[in-house]
């Protein structure tokens, strides 16, 4: 006699198709509901911004600097350019530092004491409220220089980018299979060169995503810029002078008592979001263009 099976016998009557279908539909429905709840605020914000902001968008908005309250016309050209300057400087500081630290953590530090210290510091830095970062840079750069500046704004946003870039770079490098590193070493490629060309290149898609996340996050920061870039009603691209930035301009206009300024603030918010989305999409497009068929 065969030993008794632990498996329940498979019989048609055992399989209650109807109740399974109901359970399956309930779970699918819950997942769909969760998805809608997550997406709804984003769609709502976009639509509301479009509705409020689109009417104030015109050629002047992109080409004129602000006019005094009460006058009509005027735009945010200086703030758009200012945001560009500050964010470019922030990226120049934050991305190389972050990627460098990420390479150090993934390839050299491992779980040494120094590695864990750097990791812990990055995580703490990520959790520091942005206004505190602003005050810190105010004390370190603005006070000694005795004036607000685009430089201080770029530095504070750059430092805020570092932890995100560092940790994503580290995670992405760790995901590169050991076999790929061995292949490079086996070809007689020096270790440092293998890290920079083979490992980083293999992880590049993920690293770019991390940089874009960090960029998008600081692009909308207002509080740290209050203490550093300060804002400027006039056109400026000098790193040594206060500079306008879209989030700052939106803040100033939104809390003002003038209806015209409120409308401009909505338009500014719309432009800010569209610019962030466009730059992320552009970078993704440019970096994916070199991708090969079947590359993973």
């Amino acid at each position: 006699m065969a030993s008794q099976s632990l498996r329940p016998p498979l019989r048609a009557s055992n399989v209650n198709v109807f109740s399974r279908r109901i359970k399956s539909n309930i779970v699918s429905g819950l997942a769909l509901l969760a998805t809608i709840i997550v997406i709804a605020p984003l769609i709502a914000i976009l639509f509301y911004l479009l509705k409020q902001g689109i009417t104030s968008l015109n050629w002047n908005f992109f080409t004129k600097i602000p006019v005094p309250a009460g006058e009509s016309g005027g735009g945010m050209e200086n703030a758009i350019v200012g945001s560009g300057v500050v964010l470019a400087l922030a990226s120049l500081i934050g991305i190389p530092l972050g990627i460098g630290a990420g390479i150090y953590l993934a390839e050299y530090a491992g779980s040494t004491r120094m590695g864990n210290l750097v990791r812990f510091t990055a995580d703490v830095l990520n959790g520091v409220p942005s206004i505190v970062m602003g005050i810190a840079i105010y004390a370190l750069i603005v006070l000694p220089q005795k004036h607000f500046s685009a430089l201080a704004g770029g530095v504070v946003l750059g430092i805020m980018m570092v932890p995100t870039v560092t940790r994503t770079t580290e995670e992405m490098l760790r995901m590169v299979p050991h076999a790929i590193r061995e292949a490079a070493l086996g070809l007689g490629v020096p270790a440092w060169r293998s890290v920079l060309t083979i490992t980083v290149r293999t992880a590049s898609a993920g690293i770019v995503t991390g940089c874009m996340l960090a960029f998008a996050r600081v692009a909308g920061e207002t509080a740290p810029l209050l203490f550093t870039a300060f804002g400027n009603a006039f056109q400026s691209t000098s790193l040594n002078e206060p500079i306008a930035a879209l989030p700052l301009q939106i803040f100033v206009y939104a809390v003002s008592p003038y209806d015209e300024w409120h409308r401009l603030a909505w338009a500014g918010a719309l432009v800010l979001i569209v610019l962030i989305m466009a730059s992320v999409a552009l970078v993704r497009y440019v970096t994916s263009r070199g991708m090969l068929k079947g590359a993973s």
Binding site: I180, G186, L187, I198, L292, K293, G294, S296
Partner: protein, 252 residues
């Protein structure tokens, strides 16, 4: 042309695990030499000692002498230099996934500073022809990623990549164990072709494979080289009882 390898008093450790003990062996030039033995017997560790890949593991340690073409690779040469002269093909195909087929083959030269288009084109074509992959990929050289090929093609791509830097010795760590029988046959034909120009050392679990491709075979057991002789002798009339037990399938 390939060169001979003389190994004396070779010991290797992983942490406190003494995984290779007092290995003495002369590997003849321009022949294929097979290393067989049960899993964990040290044959892969031995292979990795021949191009100093063993020491890339931070807990690994090696003592003894390995003379390749009369040069002691542990005393008179840097690991990077030695790995350019001693190519390696791994168990699982490991092409660089973000590189095209062309760049995979050219990578060893490019990463060591070669830039001449004409030379690279020549080397890529020659290496892919040597590894019998040229006809299958010549139209997609720069369009397709190395990772888009089939497993067998990927392994031949890895062989081409190793050949492109013009090594004297080729180490192969179970190069066909992840492949189907047809791809395996192609790799074996390739080894047969290549041994006129290179010294080949191949680790294999497949004893028929050892018999098919190698003139000489070494049998490893528990970190020791039990027996080394012509493949024919090992498989028909081994000196050691343990070799006989292993090849007749009594253990392992």
């Amino acid at each position: 042309m390939g060169v001979g390898i003389k190994i004396s008093d070779l010991n290797a450790w992983y942490g406190t695990n003494h995984s290779l003990q007092e290995i003495q062996l002369d590997i003849p030039a321009n022949h294929a030499t097979a290393l067989i033995g049960p899993s964990g017997c040290g044959k892969s560790t031995f292979l990795r000692c021949l191009n100093r890949m063993h020491e890339t593991n931070p807990i690994a340690r090696v003592t003894g002498k390995v003379l390749i073409n009369e040069v002691d690779i542990y005393a008179e040469s840097s690991p990077v230099e030695i790995r350019r002269r001693v190519g390696m093909v791994f168990q699982r195909p490991n092409p660089f996934p973000t590189m095209s087929i062309y760049d995979n083959v050219a990578s060893g030269l490019k990463l060591n500073g070669f830039r001449s288009r004409r030379v690279l084109d020549e080397v890529v074509e020659r290496s892919l022809r040597q590894s019998a992959l040229w006809d299958e990929v010549k139209d997609d050289l720069k369009k397709k990623s190395g990772a888009s090929l089939s497993g067998g093609q990927q392994q031949r791509l890895c062989i081409a990549r190793a050949l492109a830097v013009d090594p004297e010795v080729m180490l192969m760590d179970e190069p066909a164990s992840a492949l189907d029988p047809i791809s395996t046959a192609k790799i074996e034909d390739l080894i047969f072709e290549l041994k006129s120009q290179y010294t080949i050392v191949i680790v294999t679990h497949n004893m028929q494979q050892a018999a098919r491709v190698a003139e000489n075979t070494g049998f490893f057991l528990m970190g020791k080289l039990v027996e080394f002789d012509s493949t024919h002798k090992i498989f028909t009339n081994p000196r050691d009882k343990r070799t006989e037990d292993y090849i007749t399938g009594r253990f392992g």
